[in-house]
């Protein structure tokens, strides 16, 4: 019932949506990575939040795609006689396709998200006062580090110059880690974007096949 051109147009539209949604996820996750948040929290948050966001987006994109397809279908049958319209009503296409797309055999499942772990730096940070984290973000010039923490970090170092050196080292290491996290997120989103694309394409095909049989 839907022409090849129409289906291609729908695929183009949903791809644009996929692009913009992926960009939103990326910028949202990067926003958090750039902020002065507890690094433990940040790691756990990104690990769970990114795939969750992706899964939610997949559901939204499915609805969007069904909207495009159903709009096109309803437009085609709008001037058809009552029996054609009745067959569409009876078939309940949207629900049928949605159930198929979310069935465990066909559903989109994000790949496992791997984030670079650096327990050593996290352990060190856990002991360092949060003022240091501000310094790590490059926002503060003065930092607060309690004596016992310094002792744990660099035994033997007692001068202020020494502690400033340690702070600089830790800061650079955290920033390096954050850069790696951003790359991890990037790669993850790229891989899943491709998977999402083929999933959405399979839905278009299924829809086309089902309505052709009506």
């Amino acid at each position: 019932m839907l022409s090849k051109e129409k289906l291609e147009e729908i695929e183009r539209k949903i791809l644009e949506d996929l692009d913009s949604q992926s960009a939103v996820v990326k910028s949202e996750v990067n926003f958090f990575i750039d902020k002065d948040l507890n690094l433990y929290f940040l790691r756990e948050f990104i690990k769970s939040y990114t795939p969750k966001l992706l899964k939610k987006n997949a559901e939204l994109l499915l609805d969007t795609l069904l909207n495009y397809l159903m709009s096109a279908l309803l437009e085609v049958v709008s001037d058809k006689d009552m029996s054609v319209k009745q067959s569409i009503v009876q078939a309940d296409i949207r629900e049928r396709i949605k159930a198929w797309a979310l069935d465990k055999n066909n559903a989109f499942n994000p790949t496992k998200f791997m984030l670079k772990e650096d327990e050593e730096i996290l352990e060190k940070l856990k002991e360092v006062a949060p003022g240091l984290l501000i310094a790590m973000g490059g926002a503060a010039t003065a930092v607060i580090v309690s004596d016992n923490i310094l002792t744990k970090l660099v035994p033997g170092l007692s001068t202020l110059a020494g502690s400033a050196y340690v702070i600089k080292q830790v800061r650079e290491r955290v920033q390096r880690l954050k850069r790696i996290w951003k790359k991890n997120v990037d790669n993850y989103l790229e891989i899943n974007k491709k998977l999402l694309h083929s999933w959405l394409k399979s839905i278009i095909e299924k829809f086309h096949k089902d309505i052709s049989n009506l």
Partner: protein
């Protein structure tokens, strides 16, 4: 918009009348489905009948809050001139049986019954006030610590630093002995968590519950326990002495403490007006100018509580000579009598006249009943809609019965016409449901865009919050904004279904004489909103909000181990933890809200499908039912009788609405 100001008395008359109207409606309606959701309407009626108005009285320490409440209550029952402890919010309300119920942090409940107001006053003084000798130490922070940890803290330098940071007080180390002495006397068994005072006050206060809040601090902050009370208030009266008129605490209270949704409920009450009698008008105008961007000028009043209390004494028949024996009143009796003489006002009227309560009380009453009056109007209009629908259904039914009585063949033709109409209804309704999906779901839907914008905005605000107050404010604003998004989305969905079904109904009626039953979308929308709000509070936002309460977050294991650190370090660590939690919760809430809105959409769709089924069954019944001529005649008579009753009830309802409209 209200034109005539009415008080509680007139409001109660309206409520009684509406309850009668509702009872008649129920009996006329019987089992007919007129599209009105009776369960929900019944709940609304019950809420109106049981309505309690919460009036929170806040203000700085020693601003005269208790005297002010006493003057409202017309009884000197709350102890004045004492420093109220932070955790002691006193709820005062009308009760036939006088009682004072005090709940302590340990769970112990103390109840004093059937005693005189002097006994209550004395007990309140003992439990709710901070003893004079401890006025210079942060007793509230100390009590809070005990509440948080369930034990008395060890008082050392670290703890003193913590106290100084928390209370904004300096040099507390010089008061270390006093702090220790205070702590020795405090435990969970003598820190109150709730104080309720029920008393047979004079008529007019049956539906009001006054909440006597502890004094706000210098920067307008309130302690966390007060938030839940401020949230439930229908009006918040901020008490402040008339001079100096400028109040930083009030500004902060309105701009950062009160959530956005409650800002429209704030009144400013400038007290001790008679002390500055000559300057009163100037000061009042100045206040109205200074706070113009915070609250409207008609919600700022200048009052004098002592004068109102003297007036109440006089009303009780007390002689002026006796009133003068009260030190606090003596000076003002003489002053007002002089003034009354000068201005030729009868002495018995002068005290009320100069007290300022004659302006404040009607304004407050009117404000409190404004929303319930609107609700009365909505209920009356819903019943009206129900009657109109009933009338339409019965008329359609009657016309078919009359056709059947006259010409069976024509009757069958008409039924067939309706069956064809039903088929079209089924198809068109499916198209409407599809259109709803297209409009309200997917990445490009206005609802999804609103959620995305909301998320970006509040993620940014929360992550960039500089302190707990700011974080808390953003979080509360987020709650309010989410409510707006929910409200707007639901009303768009309701509006969509309503419009589409109306157009479809008109076309089917014209072509097939088929009427489609009404669906009460307004009431559906309201109940969905309420359900969502509960979900939002119980499931997600509420949980996160309680996480922001200090006594909760201090208990967190991860944070607890840092408690020996300096106050500023502790605050920074806490902020990071709290931001993390707030971000996670906001994201969880959005997922839940999205799911719930979609569920609501499905529910609406379900209602349309249900309506289709009902219509199908109705047509089928009509076609198959075999009736004798006598039965047919009886049914025609009964239907006509019902239509007359509806007409009569509609007229009564119209009169009620007319009276309500002039209010």
């Amino acid at each position: 918009m209200m034109e005539k100001k009415i008080g509680f008395h007139e409001y109660k008359i309206f409520v009684t009348e509406l309850v009668n109207i509702y009872d008649s409606y129920l009996s006329v309606r019987g089992d007919y489905n007129d599209g009105i959701n009776i369960v929900l309407l019944d709940k609304k009626i019950k809420n109106i009948v049981d309505n309690i108005f919460y009036v929170a009285i806040a203000g700085e320490v020693k601003a005269g809050k208790s005297t002010f409440i006493n003057s409202l209550l017309r009884e000197e029952i709350l102890p004045a001139d004492v420093l109220q402890a932070t955790s002691s919010i006193i709820e005062v309300f009308y009760s036939k049986r006088p009682f004072l119920k005090i709940t302590y942090a340990s769970g112990r409940v103390e109840e004093i019954e059937e005693e005189s107001k002097e006994i209550f006053k004395e007990r309140l003084k003992e439990v709710a006030a901070i003893p004079d000798e401890y006025r210079d130490i942060p007793t509230s922070v100390l009590d809070q610590w005990i509440l948080d940890h369930g034990e008395v803290p060890e008082v050392n330098d670290e703890f003193i630093h913590y106290l100084e940071a928390k209370s904004n007080l300096d040099n507390l180390s010089s008061l270390i002995d006093k702090i220790r002495s205070y702590l020795q006397k405090r435990n969970l068994d003598n820190i109150t968590t709730r104080i309720e005072l029920g008393y047979p006050f004079r008529v007019g206060l049956e539906n009001i519950r006054f909440l006597d809040m502890p004094g706000v601090n210098a920067v307008g902050g309130v302690y966390d326990i007060a938030f839940s009370y401020l949230d439930m208030a229908n009006a918040i009266l901020f008490i402040h002495p008339i001079k100096p008129v400028e109040s930083e605490s009030f500004k902060n209270f309105v701009s950062t403490i009160i959530p956005k949704k409650n800002k429209d409920m704030v009144f400013q009450v400038l007290t001790h007006a008679v002390v500055y009698f000559e300057e009163k008008d100037r000061l009042l105008n100045e206040a109205r100018r200074i706070y113009a961007n915070l609250i409207p000028p008609n919600r700022i009043f200048a009052v004098d509580s002592i004068l109102k209390l003297i007036h109440e004494d006089l009303m009780r028949g007390k002689k002026l000579e006796d009133i003068k024996r009260d030190k606090a009143k003596r000076k003002w009796v003489a002053f007002v009598l002089d003034l009354a003489d000068e201005l030729r006002i009868p002495p018995e009227k002068a005290f009320l006249e100069f007290s300022g309560f004659k302006e404040l009380l009607p304004a407050l009453e009117n404000f409190l009943i404004e929303a319930p009056i609107l609700e009365l109007r909505n209920i009356a209009q819903t019943i009206h809609t129900g009657y109109e629908e009933l009338e339409r259904m019965l008329n359609e039914h009657l016309s078919l019965l009359l056709v059947r009585q006259k010409d069976l063949e024509k009757f069958e033709e008409e039924v067939k016409q309706r069956i064809d109409g039903y088929k079209r209804l089924q198809t068109e309704a499916y198209f409407i449901l599809e259109e709803a999906e297209i409009n309200f779901k997917g990445v490009n839907s206005p609802f999804e865009r609103a959620l995305q914008e909301f998320k970006s905005k509040y993620q940014e605000l929360i992550v960039n919050s500089r302190n707990l107050e700011e974080l808390r404010k953003h979080y509360r604003d987020a709650e309010d904004e989410l409510d707006e998004i929910i409200g707007k989305s639901l009303s768009t969905i309701s509006g969509f279904f309503q419009d589409r079904l109306k157009v479809l109904g008109e076309s089917l009626n014209k072509e097939y004489k088929l009427t489609i039953p009404k669906i009460d979308f307004a009431i559906l929308e309201e109940s969905t909103k309420k359900k969502l709000k509960e979900k939002e509070e119980k499931d997600a936002l509420g949980r996160a909000w309680s996480f922001l309460l200090p006594w909760r977050w201090l208990k967190l294991k991860e944070i607890f181990k840092f408690k020996k650190e300096s106050a500023s370090t502790l605050e920074k660590k806490l902020m990071q933890e709290l931001k993390g939690t707030a971000i996670t919760q906001i994201s969880n809430v959005l997922d839940k809200i999205r799911d719930e809105i979609f569920k609501a959409l499905d529910y609406y769709k379900g209602q349309v499908k249900q309506m289709l089924k009902e219509k199908e069954a109705q047509i089928e019944r009509l076609r198959l039912e075999i009736k004798t001529a006598e039965a047919l005649e009886l049914e025609i008579l009964q239907t006509e009788k019902k239509l007359t009753m509806i007409q009569r009830e509609k007229e009564r309802l119209n009169r009620f609405l007319e009276n309500l409209n002039v209010v």
